[in-house]
Amino acid sequence: MSEAFFEVSGLNTWFFTRTGTFKSVRDVSFSLRRGEVLGIVGESGSGKSVTGMSIMGQVDEPGRIVSGSIKLDGEELTTLSFDAMRHYRGRRIAMVFQNPLMTLNPLMRIRDQMFEAISEHEPASHAEMQSRCIDALRSVGIPSPEDRLSAYPHELSGGMRQRVVIAIALLLNPDLIIADEPTTALDVTIQAQIIHQMRRQIDERGLGMIWITHDLATLSELADRILVMYAGAMMETGTTADIIGSSRHPYTRKLLESVPSLNVPGEKLRQIRGSMPSLLTLGAGCPFKDRCEFATEACAEAVPERVFSATHRVWCHHPIEDDR
């Protein structure tokens, strides 16, 4: 397996508001190899999207990256100037959001939006741009791409729009794509198609991908490795088999158990009691302790990292030792 080309270490992204400091991302570290999909899974408020925005250098006021490092091929991104970062965004790191209408300009034809993305970074002749756009659209499964180029976003279906966004992300052959809930708003049949095509692009082009979602089922089919986040912190990380097949963190177990298809139909779902703590009042201990059935007094103390294998790490005082 190749070396990691992308590394995040000790990332802290906090939001300084009048009500107090929201520590949305706390001490998050991970790395990524080429051709690999890392899934970041968590519920709302887990910090998974803020992690993605931090990598893109797009954390808005009153938030900022307080500490930590983000390195692409050894180069530090957190200290880059706004203009220098612009050079990376789109060309080396691309992002796909949940809602394609947020990304696409409703007043521009698909062709113009795609040409803009190319000419911004690597000016080329009209004919060359045209053929690159058609290739990109075809690679994500858009039928008769020549005709679609002159369409406006509103003329396309939701699934088609999201494919166009992904095609734009692929256009400049980036090293890394960050996808934040890219298929959540889409129908099941369309979602399956897009995931299938994404996986093929990743394998063929050898690019790295961070897939941010709340949906463990999708990740189990797509991701190579998974990072589980809760209330801004890492809970567990491992290969997809580690997380889905033999998770050790009580939160991961609970999350898996509350998925309907893993429950007996007609019986009550195994639920997680309580709700997520406020990010304002988090102490040093485990953020999950108030909802955890294994919690003891020790859980108020700083959480230790437990290493189960070369790939599988858990942040918990009382990890579950037995297999599911």
Binding site: E43, H196, A217, E221
Partner: protein
């Protein structure tokens, strides 16, 4: 068989897209029919006492429009709705009785009045229609809050002070407060996180067990439908394409669309799935394909699929589907 709580016979809903005056005039001069959307096209189904019927389908299949017609907040363009055998016209006219069918919406923020306190939201209809005497309304609201797992002090707070899951509990309490027999849940948990979703599903199951009410549960989430429902109707572009008991539907789907839907359902497993090739996208409901709506995407389509509309036929007791090639897909 006992009488169903709710019955729909050939229920349809046609929408006319908004058009400018010039466009309308142009259409009339040219003798053109204005474009019509058949959001729901001759749907027949029923729910019996204490039963949960699931309605599943992708966006644009008409499931929400159908929900609104069942709840009585949208008129039908054709067909018949019956509550315990009585036609909806006379049923809805008696306001107090019309409360027997209640709806829980997807987004509690847009279905709860932000300017009313939770106590007023829950108690308003019950007090107005005399479900409970006005003097006892406060106590009744506290009891109802209790039933949905909210603290008594929620009564004097506003919807925005609650989390998404709690707001959905308020929405359920509002519906329960008028003592319905039939609860129509339209994507009631779609916007919630997995752990909160499980809490709300469990709450709905508790309520069903305690009060024996019937439920229509509308969702795009096949996992939830399978977990919660006794029978399932699958909709595609305004029509029911298959209807069967939950176990039967999931273990022996016969309509090609249901088969495709189940194959596309993401599942937690470590096996890398080989993807079944899925043809094309859902057509626009403005211009659905002729004949069977599904034929352009169907792998089993034959010539007559593009000309004849398939009617629902019974394959086995309680299992119907609308496919002209029933013999081909049965195995």
């Amino acid at each position: 068989m006992t009488q169903p709580v709710f019955e729909a016979r050939d229920v349809s809903r046609i929408f006319e897209p908004a058009q400018g005056a010039l466009q309308r005039l142009g259409d009339r001069l040219a003798g053109r029919q204005p474009p019509l959307v058949r959001a729901v096209d001759r749907v027949t189904l029923s729910v019996s006492e204490g039963e949960t019927l699931g309605i599943v389908g992708e966006s644009g299949c008409g499931k929400s429009t159908l929900a609104r017609m069942i709840a009585g907040i949208l008129p039908v363009s054709g067909g018949e709705r019956r509550y315990r055998g009585e036609g909806y016209d006379s049923f809805l006219a008696r306001k107090r009785d019309a409360l027997k069918v209640q709806m829980v919406f997807q987004d509690p923020m847009s279905s709860l009045n932000p300017r009313l306190k939770v106590g007023e939201i829950i108690g308003e209809a019950a007090a107005l229609h005399g479900v409970v005497p006005r003097a006892q309304i406060r106590r009744y609201v506290v009891e109802t809050l209790n039933r949905v797992g909210l603290p008594a002090d929620a009564i004097d707070r506003y919807p925005h002070e609650f989390s998404g899951g709690q707001r959905q509990r308020v929405g359920i309490a509002r519906a329960l407060a008028v003592k319905p027999d039939l609860l129509v849940c339209d994507e009631a948990v779609a916007a919630l996180d997995v752990s909160v979703q499980a809490q709300i599903i469990n709450l709905l199951m508790d309520i069903k067990q305690d009060s024996g009410l019937s439920m229509i549960f509308i969702s795009h989430d096949l996992g939830l439908i399978r977990h919660l429902c006794d029978r399932v109707a699958v909709m595609y572009l305004g029509r029911v394409v298959e209807l069967a008991g939950t176990e039967e539907l999931f273990s022996n789907p016969t309509h090609p669309y249901t088969q495709m839907l189940l194959a596309g359902m993401p599942q937690i497993s470590l096996k890398r799935r080989t993807f079944m090739p899925i043809k094309g996208e859902i057509p626009s409901p403005l211009a659905p394909p002729p004949g069977c709506h599904f034929h352009p995407r169907c792998l089993a389509a034959t010539d007559h699929c593009s000309t004849r509309r398939p009617e629902l036929v019974e394959l086995a007791p309680g299992h119907t589907h609308a496919c002209l090639n029933a013999g081909l897909t049965r195995n």
